[in-house]
Symmetry: D2
Amino acid sequence: MFVLVNLKTYPCDAVSVAQAAADVAADTDARIAVAPQAADLRPVAETGVETWAQHVSPHDHGSHTGSTLAATVADAGATGTLLNHSEHRLKLADVDGGLRAAEDTGLETIVCANNPRQIAAAATLGPDMVAVEPPELIGSGTPVSRADPDIVREAVAAADEVNPPVPVLCGAGISTGDDVEAAADLGAEGVLLASGVAKADDPESVLRDLVSSV
Amino acid sequence: MFVLVNLKTYPCDAVSVAQAAADVAADTDARIAVAPQAADLRPVAETGVETWAQHVSPHDHGSHTGSTLAATVADAGATGTLLNHSEHRLKLADVDGGLRAAEDTGLETIVCANNPRQIAAAATLGPDMVAVEPPELIGSGTPVSRADPDIVREAVAAADEVNPPVPVLCGAGISTGDDVEAAADLGAEGVLLASGVAKADDPESVLRDLVSSV
Amino acid sequence: MFVLVNLKTYPCDAVSVAQAAADVAADTDARIAVAPQAADLRPVAETGVETWAQHVSPHDHGSHTGSTLAATVADAGATGTLLNHSEHRLKLADVDGGLRAAEDTGLETIVCANNPRQIAAAATLGPDMVAVEPPELIGSGTPVSRADPDIVREAVAAADEVNPPVPVLCGAGISTGDDVEAAADLGAEGVLLASGVAKADDPESVLRDLVSSV
Amino acid sequence: MFVLVNLKTYPCDAVSVAQAAADVAADTDARIAVAPQAADLRPVAETGVETWAQHVSPHDHGSHTGSTLAATVADAGATGTLLNHSEHRLKLADVDGGLRAAEDTGLETIVCANNPRQIAAAATLGPDMVAVEPPELIGSGTPVSRADPDIVREAVAAADEVNPPVPVLCGAGISTGDDVEAAADLGAEGVLLASGVAKADDPESVLRDLVSSV
């Protein structure tokens, strides 16, 4: 199971969450990554944790003031990027463009989507993984694996039909090891988390619980 | 072959192009549709021509000032709608939402996309048809069927892999019956046109030539 | 006082609301306008009521699939247009562009904004009117004139500093003649309404009450 | 005169341009700042050069995946931010929101706009400075001060009418000390540059020439 901690724009200390994640990953052989804001990629990567960007632009070098290029986040230490998170939905053409830009710089990619049909569409574009996160469950505290297990099963089935099959992560409301185990039972190969870790008093113990069943 | 004339926001007389299209369709049994701006749907539909919207919102009834609903264009006489034209690209989630809204009101749908990979993604979302239009050829006067035949072949192959297969239209630079024939030879089941008809001195004779080989 | 009824994308019968508005306007000399979806502009205008668009594109004629031009809504019978409604917020450059497009075709304009500072910015761009609608009060049933009278006073003060001064409308939660009177007392020269009329069982009697104090 | 070097998403070495700018600023007492991509803010700020962000989100802390907060760029060492660059145009409400977010974290602000009317609107929102950059001259090699001196004069006049007056920078095509002097003669209090420095073989000598007349 791959555990990706999305720090969004929470008021957490990105480096200390990253350090906690690096420590737990080292102790447990679990795969844990942290996705901070672009301006925090360097100090997060310096902790040694697997570091992901929250978004990259479909653009290549050029006149694109205010964009964050795949090449630049890679240079800052990121080894992967989310695309099309439900808080940063992209045009279909820009999901494709962002994937090509990430691919050209060797970044791994996860495309997020809201439902199994969009998961199928995202998977055909060739990302390394896809993630299904029903928007109404994000931040709800109710894990998608319990609130809507069928959406995870159907997303896995949809991504399996693409050739080659694309691994599915699930997100929204995940906060415990039991939630991770339930996600795995539904066929997910990883989970996206955010507030459950980023807003925790003790992110390290939450992470240890999360990966305890892996 | 399905010939869809997109009037964009050209300064043409929408009703007279529509009347020409209705006349040619009646004489030839060719399937010809006209897609005017939303405010012109009613008078275009009143000519009896098959009428399409250029876009519909993913929204249902509610508080969405400035949006054009699928139900409203259907009520105005449209029987189909384009989605995700390269001049009006949509978020992946809104292509999906627009398709569901169109489906709910019985509108036929064509999702446009730039390349075979995006065509595959669009096709998995379940439109009635897809259309490949390389943006760099739109309005170029060079038909896609000659400038880049492989993109049409690959788009047809991509849409064929979806189950059930989705018919492919091609657009960009089409203006003659020979272009339509070349498109058909590449596997396209229709063409999108715009300036070639909308800006013609005599739209009716252009349309007659276009469908002459069908 | 100018009463503008925004039909948004409500499931109401646009023509029957328009007919009611036309009847009340004729009986009372109140200025009442109705803003339907683009596809409904023609039948609404045919009732004789003053007809407004909910939005127009900043573009001129050209290759802009899915846009609604100022010239096209004018041709369909609109004599004015909203711009930058909080449900259809525009880029600063497109507020400016939309105003220029509307001006070129003789449409009257109202630019909406959320707060007095944005009202000042909007007013400097030269619209015929501005409208302040705090987004949190839209559809709340609590009139802005009671919930937040200062925002109306400050918007009027902000628009008065521009040379020449720009009349201010207020919206959000307006549904009775008392609300209209309260808005006038705060310096507003008109009101924007939506659900209060569009969702009423008897739009005509709501409109008669609304203009009773004018 | 304030010289702001916008590195956009050019393939330059941000740190070496920043070092050159820091050196020239130290030698000459000219005010020179560098605006890199978000992921490069930290190493740029570590050179000691005045560091600006190219954009900040209107959001506060919360669930906004993929956004770059004002507080985060300030923490990374930025002391100012551009907003509404013509390559990253913002909704009117988001220019306002971005300004408030920047203000709350003590960042200086420059709002870009295309023409004097939009400059007036931008200035009423209360930025520290505004910048007029006709989009058609960006990257043209022809300085706005020569190609269209009236637009600079009119922008200065527009910003002067706001109370208190807002200093105007100009951009587009600036690359020499003569261009800077011409901009100053037209009333500009600074210049925005990009490719002229970022793509130069020797950015330091370009910068020395740029500030030679200041």
